[in-house]
């Protein structure tokens, strides 16, 4: 191969010039990479395995729901069938790796949230929760007893279903019943088609969307005598009324 004579003039001048630049750059790269960078930086597998080691060295706190099946078949089976099936055991019982490792040790006895203030963390009324998520007002919903006296924590029963709006929205109906809005019909604020009662998700009732709606009774100077008045122009203008006043128990 080297026999073939290629006089420099045969290669266009441009290519030679650019060639020098390219060689300089490649050379610079090789020099820096070979000598200036320490090997740990270059070896990605090394870095990765270090990271893996570091993470693996951390203590395990959560056992994971699968670990419980072995010893607590009852609760696991029960929960599978109930409304709480999507909750992990650890959500309510906390981190339990120690308990799994040594279940008979009293010191590792799992915590079971039997108090009343635990469940409302998920079930207290909060306008940001998705529609249809079961919510209650803890101050009114059977306030004197712990939740688990009526609801099985691993498989909470769905409420019974009588008629009318309260058939399905019993909680709201009952809340409203003892609130200042007791005398307002549900339909004052929710335009509801008859179909809603047979296909609730297919025909959703309307919901108030503006402050002005509440203003029709509560704004200063409106006709509705019995309703206490506020000045809509000054009363917490930045928020929707129901960010502060639960509409079913204002």
């Amino acid at each position: 191969m080297s026999e073939i004579p290629s006089p420099p003039s045969r290669i266009p001048e441009q290519v030679r010039r650019l060639g020098v630049v390219a060689v300089l750059m490649a050379g610079g790269f090789i020099v820096v990479r070979t000598w200036a960078i320490s090997p740990e930086y270059k070896d990605t597998s090394l870095q990765k395995s270090e990271a893996v080691e570091r993470e693996k060295a951390k203590p395990v706190h959560y056992a994971g729901a699968a670990a419980c099946t072995e010893c607590h078949e009852d609760q696991c089976g029960e929960q599978q069938l109930g409304k709480h099936r999507n909750l992990s055991c650890g959500t309510c019982h906390g981190a339990l790796q120690k308990h799994v490792d040594d279940p008979l040790n009293e010191a590792n006895r799992p915590y079971a949230p039997r108090e009343r203030d635990f469940c409302p963390q998920c079930h207290a009324y909060d306008p940001a929760r998705p529609t249809g998520f079961p919510q209650i007002n803890p101050a009114i919903h059977n306030p004197l007893k712990p939740c688990i006296s009526c609801h099985k924590p691993h498989a909470p029963e769905p409420p019974e279903t009588p008629q009318e709006c309260s058939a399905c929205h019993a909680e709201i109906a009952r809340t409203k019943m003892v609130s200042p809005h007791a005398l307002l019909e549900c339909t004052t604020c929710h335009t509801t088609l008859e179909e809603h009662k047979t296909t609730p998700r297919g025909a959703k009732p309307s919901r108030p969307t503006t402050r002005e709606f509440c203003g029709t009774c509560h704004n200063k100077g409106t006709a509705e005598k019995s309703a206490p008045k506020v000045d809509l122009a000054t009363h917490e203008v930045k928020y929707l009324c129901w960010q502060c006043h639960y509409p079913h128990s204002p």
């Binding site: 441009q14 820096v32 990605t44 940001a128 929760r129």
Partner: protein, 420 residues
Amino acid sequence: MKEELVQRLAELAPKVEGFIYPNEVEIHWSILIVVYPYVTGLVAGAFILASLVKVFKVKELQPTYRLSLLTALSFLLIATLPLLLHLGRPERCFEIFLTPNPTSAMAMFGFVYAWYLMAVLLLEIWFEYRPDMIRMSQTKPFPWNWLYRALSLFSSDVSERARAFDAKALKAITVIGIPSAFLLHGYVGFIFGSVKANPWWSSVLMPIVFLFSAIVSGIAMVMLLYMIITPLRGKPIEIACVDRVASYLFYAVIVDFSLEALDFIHRLYESEESIGILSTMVTSRLFVSLLVMQVLLGMVVPLGIMVVIKLSKMNDELRKLLYFTAAILIQMGIFSTRWNIVIGGQLFSKSFLGLTAYKMEIMGIEGLLTALVLLALPFVILVVLLKLLPAWPGDEAASSAPPPPPVSDAGPAPAIAPAV
């Protein structure tokens, strides 16, 4: 620092609607990340315009050829800055190259960028300007002559054969350049499109939508620059050239518009679980920037203007004015597009139950001022580049101080050329 953060969150809190996770309250990909795809898009677009001259031999576009190249270069030079400033340690950027991580799409951008800068744009500019640089290295006074000598890499061969080689090389580079420009900007779309967890971004159409909006913005930018610079040089604007650029712009906008419409329709038809929050976002938080600025002012109105120009016979002055307006609207529209993608993608909660708000800093490394500086910088670079490498030969004859002695193409090579 912590107090400042708390204060910022407190200001944001009232603007937050519904349920969002605590780490979503504040938006982390700020306006700098909006500037980044916008600027990269201009690079790709301007280059595509230049390629039209070289590959498809569109004669009318000749006056914009060098301008497009230099525009592409000046934007490319700052294209990485927004990212580097956002990451916070710009001085470490070279490590991306020295310790390459082939499995990181983000890291690969460094290579796409380097390839595009070194192997495409600089090479093309070098070949295009080589004879000019050689000439200037002989005619300009010290120290400029040395600068040109260095820039031309001490090249000296301006023979017929060497020039023929230049032309051939230019053509080859352009042919490689087109897919590279597609790669450069398609890549930016890829980065967003491949974020699986974000329904606003995750779409295979993303790279293509990005690409076409890039072409639109690049062509419009070169057109704007041409229409601004030419009068400043005291030359008449060549209306045939502007007409031609505008007609490419027109088709590019139509393709871009259809692609974006397709994307939206596709999302609506798919109606994945995210569609509720996305439509709420589009009609509330993004109403002005998406429906008004991006779609109406940034696309429908410019398209209308260009249709009117095509249909009616109006005089050149009015036509120029309308083109100019359309190009500015398009720039604004594409910037809004980037905004809507980058900021929009972070406004809604991963829970799909709430929206947050973006509160832009003014000062600060991620603030509005930095963004404005970054957007202004390419124009400064462009001015310098245009001074160094005149885009319109014949211009510098009038501007350079000493009257240039006639240069023959076969002039003797200066002795300084090193033998290689």
